[in-house]
Amino acid sequence: MTVVRWLVPLAMVAALFMAFVFAPTEATMGDVQRIFYFHVPSAWVAFMAFAVVFVASIQWLRTRSQRWDALAVSAAEIGVLFATVALVTGSIWAKPTWGTWWDWDPRLTSTLILWLIYVSYMMLRSVIENPSKRASLSAVVGIVGFVDVPIVFMSIRWWRTIHPVVITGNSMNLDPSMLLTLMVCLAAFTLLFVHLLGMRLALEQQREEVNLLREAILYEE
């Protein structure tokens, strides 16, 4: 984990360099387009986080090991963080590009639904006191939520393309150097995700240690 910790700032600096210096300016949108290099990786990391929640949820139900529940809640929290970033940056990009803060573009809309699903996951966790019940119930929601993700993406995509109301074309011709920039940023964000996940997981394990210590003390009385 210490390797990751030192790699993260290096990777982020590399990503910044690529996004601001190396990548060419886009023909139609100008420099604002550079938001793309951090907006897309944010959304991607959110998706990865939710995949982790899915796997951790299944593993909790199978093994009942607290570590899996700790992983699930940590990944969900970070996923919501990155999904929020993706939505906000997408909206900031939309304003100068399409003239409006929000326009129900299929990708942004799907990300919004994703955000809502995992916010509801976090809310569910906050209203259940019993730890093992909390883990089991949120695991069920974590599984159902992730299975829903591809269906949400597809149905919203069809909703927008088959019955167009206002189609705002979002096609971008990706220069090879732009693609490279995107890949570097993606890698940097993935490293950032792993690092934050590790930190959040350690926090969760600390909480567990506090609980165990408290129990031990009560037992001694």
Partner: protein
């Protein structure tokens, strides 16, 4: 296999019998659905020319919200009346409880819809008797009830109970709502099958996938 089905039907029968005595859930669902339709009339200033555009959405919002009233009932009143323990003590696979409850909810929702659809047709001056529209309504309701029954069971274990159900259910049910509204739109406009969208397919896929997932995960909701 036959006894499995018997147990499922027994649970459905119990819910139906209990509802027949008071009819309170069905009547509140129906009244709520009508209220939603009426409120939308004021919210959107419906005139004769724009009803067709708004009608499918209004119908499905009414079904979704009235449906959640019924879904909440499926576990919350059980727990309140102390029936939940009795149900859990039965020597049955937990999945029978899921199927029984889900079918019960489906039955209640479709009964409510049967009464609401003519009202809807009258308010919007649309024909609703096409088998195509009825199929869409049934498919959409199945999807909604499949996930809704599972999430209702989850919600009953929380501090906030009935409040949690819409928060959990509505985001996950987005594909059902999108597909159902679009399919209803196509049906009302009488777009012929070859040129219509993939919406029926989405509904069927959602129904199958989520009934299966809910069926498999339901037992974990009640484990200690």
């Amino acid at each position: 296999m036959k006894s499995y089905l018997d147990k499922v039907l027994a649970i459905v029968g119990k819910d139906v019998a209990s509802e027949l005595r008071t009819r309170e859930v069905l009547s509140s669902m129906f009244v709520f659905a009508v209220l939603v339709i009426v409120i939308f009339n004021f919210a959107f200033e419906l005139k004769v020319d724009n009803t067709e555009a708004v009608a499918p959405g209004v119908l499905w919002v009414a079904i979704a919200f009235a449906g959640m009233l019924g879904l909440n009932r499926s576990f919350i009143t059980e727990k309140d009346r102390g029936c939940m323990e009795g149900l859990l003590l039965c020597p049955v696979d937990r999945s029978t409880i899921y199927l029984g409850k889900m079918l019960g909810n489906l039955l209640f929702m479709t009964t409510m819809e049967v009464i609401v659809l003519p009202v809807f047709a009258a308010f919007f001056n649309l024909s609703v008797l096409s088998p195509r529209l009825l199929l869409i309504v049934v498919l959409g309701t199945i999807g909604f009830a499949a996930v809704g029954t599972l999430f209702s069971a989850v919600a009953v274990h929380t501090r906030t109970r009935e409040v949690m159900l819409p928060i959990l259910l509505l985001p996950v049910a987005v594909p059902v709502l999108v597909a159902a509204v679009k399919a209803t739109e196509d049906a009302i406009a009488r777009i012929p099958p070859p040129t219509e969208g993939p919406w029926l397919g989405v509904l069927v896929a959602f129904d199958i996938i989520f009934t299966t997932v809910a069926f498999l995960t339901f037992e974990y909701v009640f484990q200690e």
